[in-house]
């Protein structure tokens, strides 16, 4: 039986790789792969392959920060302990073991023992674990935190395997408890005793053993580190954290011998967990079936361009009543607003109120010297996020043609001119982005302290806000139009639907389209910016801050004209759009 499982896993992996390689015959995938690899090299591999990186590999001790190692061991052990306790504090009803629909169809009725099935699933999970290990290694294995990249890599695999097996075991036990009640409790008594013991120990520790914080005046980084170390050694914490320390120790080992010695207890823990899952005599078939069907529905929804549903879809209140008569593009706008699902007036109001209350509370509660600092931090963050949204918001907000091109067969049968379809499609993301950015500008202008003569009066702030409110909708429209133009011109380069494709080529593709969009956006706003700059500089000496909204008006008019031209052009493109040619691959 093992041979059959190995054959299945081997063929699946081989064919998956072969499909990916075959795709590289298409230039866009090849270019995207090159871009993705280049990115990985520049961000992750360059350091490893540099002279300094090689020196570190040859001389591991040059890499580690010895003073930090005990603190890191404690920190990671505490983190692991928290992760391990989490499923018992917030239990979730899932089978723990998941099979695909095909596996259920072929393997469940086959003459295979349940233990063999479990064994197969555990081995199969290693593929995902190894991929996760590789990604984590690339992201976290760069700095000088760990003694040796290889030790870190091996330990990552052990920690991830331990957690994966533990998650499966916990879910199986919880399923059994839910299904069998008292019998389930008797069957898994030792597990429950261990969990209860851990919870009780935490209570005892918190109640009687937590050392007092260092005095506020003598608070230094060293004193905090010392306090954390003492905290982890106090009372039952020392014993509770022992297995978790053992799990993280190999990554922090300073030299090969201690690494090998530290491997033994860590590996033992992983094997114990593996054996625990394998010996769990729990019914998982029904729950697996339910989960596989749910997953198949999600994948189908994502393929059709719908959202990747991780919760049951809810009926959303329409943002406004759609009258039966009137411009038809408003119907598409209305539909997309419902799809975006963020636009109940009550929800927007509550978010604004919560944010405003939070900011006000923070400003009032902190002491006077810190208040200005907090205002600068909040205001700068708001400006930063608003600027980020101007550039990247249109990439993220996708409730437009990027989703609806998946329904192009349907939309093309509607008796609408192309420009009406495009206009209806772009309004939703543009409106959402406008709302978000205007809110952020309002926050920034409300809290930022005066700088020299700027922001010194309410009048000034109001003028700046007015200028921003005039320009932001136009910028959002242009940004969203550029993304939609890309979807119509080069649909093969843009991810259609809400689900994002994975893989190095997909990452490269996203980077290329992102850079191209940024360049186009830059050129698109240059005329508007020039008009604004010229009007502002010539009129400011006469009208002062009032010139901000006044200069924004011709700039906005220019941008709107630009947007109108692009909408008309995209409308013609949409009318000529041939899904049988453009979307053949996604069909």
């Amino acid at each position: 039986m093992t041979a059959a499982f190995v054959f299945y896993l081997y063929c699946s992996l081989k064919n998956r790789i072969r499909t990916r390689v075959q795709r590289l015959r298409q230039p866009r995938y090849l270019i995207s792969l090159v871009a993705g690899l280049l990115y990985l090299y520049l961000v992750f591999f360059r350091q490893f392959l540099s002279r300094d990186g090689m020196r570190v590999l040859r001389n591991p001790s040059a890499r580690a920060e010895p003073d930090l190692l005990p603190l890191m061991e404690t920190g990671f052990a505490l983190l692991l302990f928290g992760i391990v306790l989490l499923p018992w504090i917030f239990p979730r009803r899932n089978p723990g073991i998941s099979f695909t629909e095909a596996e259920i169809q072929f393997l469940f009725p086959a003459p295979i023992t349940r233990r063999a099935l479990l064994h197969f699933r555990l081995v199969k999970s290693q593929l995902a674990i190894l991929f996760g290990v590789l990604i984590s290694f690339l992201i976290f294995g760069r700095g000088r935190s760990f003694s040796h990249p290889f030790y870190f890599l091996v330990d990552l695999w052990m920690v991830y395997s331990f957690l994966a097996f533990y998650r499966m075991g916990t879910a199986l036990v919880q399923t059994s408890l839910a299904e069998h009640g008292a019998t389930g409790i008797r069957r898994h008594l030792w597990v429950l005793v261990l969990v209860a013991g851990a919870v009780f120990s935490v209570f005892v520790w918190l109640r009687w053993f937590v050392p007092s914080l260092p005095p506020r005046k003598g608070l230094t980084p060293e004193s905090i580190v010392a306090w954390i170390s003492e905290l982890a050694r106090s009372g039952p914490a020392f014993y509770i954290l022992l297995p978790f320390r053992a799990l993280v120790r190999p990554a922090l080992a300073p030299e090969p011998v201690s690494f090998l010695l530290s491997l033994i207890p860590a590996l033992l823990l992983v094997l114990l967990c593996y054996a625990w899952v394998l010996r769990s005599d729990v019914s998982f078939e029904e729950a697996s079936l339910e989960r596989a069907e749910r997953m198949a529905r999600r994948i189908e929804a994502a393929r059709k361009g719908g959202p990747l549903l991780f919760a049951a879809a809810r009926v959303r209140r329409p943002p406004f009543d759609l009258a039966p008569g009137g411009p038809a593009f408003l119907a598409i706008f209305w539909k997309n607003l419902i799809g975006a699902g963020r636009f109940g007036f009550g929800r927007v109001l509550s978010v604004v109120l919560i944010a405003a209350t939070g900011v006000l509370f923070s400003l009032v509660s902190v002491s006077a010297p810190n208040r200005e600092m907090l205002a600068v931090v909040v205001g700068s963050a708001a400006v930063g996020i608003a600027s980020f949204l101007v550039v990247f918001g249109p990439v993220v907000q996708r409730d437009d043609l990027r989703v609806d091109l998946q329904y192009v067969d349907l939309i093309k049968t509607y008796p609408l001119p192309g420009w009406a379809v495009v206009l209806g499609e772009i309004l939703t993301p543009a409106l959402i982005l406008t709302g978000q950015q205007c809110g952020l500008v309002l926050v920034a202008l409300s809290v930022l302290p005066p700088v020299d003569e700027y922001l010194s009066s309410l009048y000034q702030r109001a003028m700046y806000a007015l200028g921003a409110f005039i320009l932001i909708p136009c910028l959002s429209l242009i940004g969203v139009l550029i993304q939609n133009a890309a979807a119509l011109l080069v649909p093969g380069w843009v991810a259609l639907g809400k689900a994002q494709p994975q893989g190095i080529e997909a990452m490269g593709q996203r980077m290329i389209t992102m850079i191209a969009s940024l360049v186009v956006l830059l050129f698109a706003v240059i005329p508007g910016a020039a008009v604004f700059g010229f009007a502002f500089l010539t009129g400011y000496w006469l009208l002062g801050p009032a010139m901000v909204p006044l200069a924004a008006l011709p700039a906005a008019a220019g941008l709107l004209l630009e947007a109108a031209v692009i909408v008309a052009w995209l409308g013609r493109l949409f009318e000529k759009f041939d899904p049988s040619l453009e979307l053949r691959e996604t069909d």
Binding site: A301, A313, V315, A328, K335, Y407, D409, T413, P415, S580
Partner: protein
Amino acid sequence: MIEVNGLTKIYGTYPAVTDLSFRVEPGEVMGLVGPNGAGKTTTLRCITGIIPSTRGEVRICEFALRNNPLAAKRRLSFMPDEPRLFDYLTVMEHLQFITRIYGVENWEEKVHSLVDELDLGEKKDSLPAELSRGMKQKLVIACGLLHSPKALLFDEPLTGLDPIGIRHMKSTILKRAAEGAAIIVSSHLLHLVEELCDRILILKEGKKIIHGSLEEISRSLPELRGDASLEEIFFRVTGHSGNDPSAR
């Protein structure tokens, strides 16, 4: 009325449909049949304006799809084989949406009549994810009929329907034909086509092989009996033996 003249669609160098011409008169139901890859779906997608044809002309109620697409599409309705619905719109919201898109007059009356006719009343506030395949199909039909189209195109209309749904679908098609709509039904279910359609067009490799009523077609094929079934005709004209391999 649906009129197709010299319709040709070429993908790259591959001709999916070549020089296809036919007419479907008001009140007529035409069956479009052919083996897999014959070009049936491509033909339907060209007629509905989903994909542009390479050559040829399509007219819906005298309006040329190329020159006057909006007027043509206002009189047209296409029911694809796979019901395509918007995930976050309820049944009623779908109908509201279509009402606005097509500018339907007396919409309330029409919506209620269709909801009753297609038994959608209990599910009017449900999302597509909560509907069965048959109910989704019914919603697609309701959306398609809301603007009282004069030309209807059905692609595999019985796929996934239960016996009750099949009966509903057949009566819907015949009712619209009786009201004067020109209808094209594309299907592999030859008995359905035989039962519903006045005329039949058989496509093979993108070309029209034969077109006419069952009687006319039978008469044009002297080697077949006068009362030959569509299945016999189909296998004869497409060059397949039609023998049951298990019978050997």
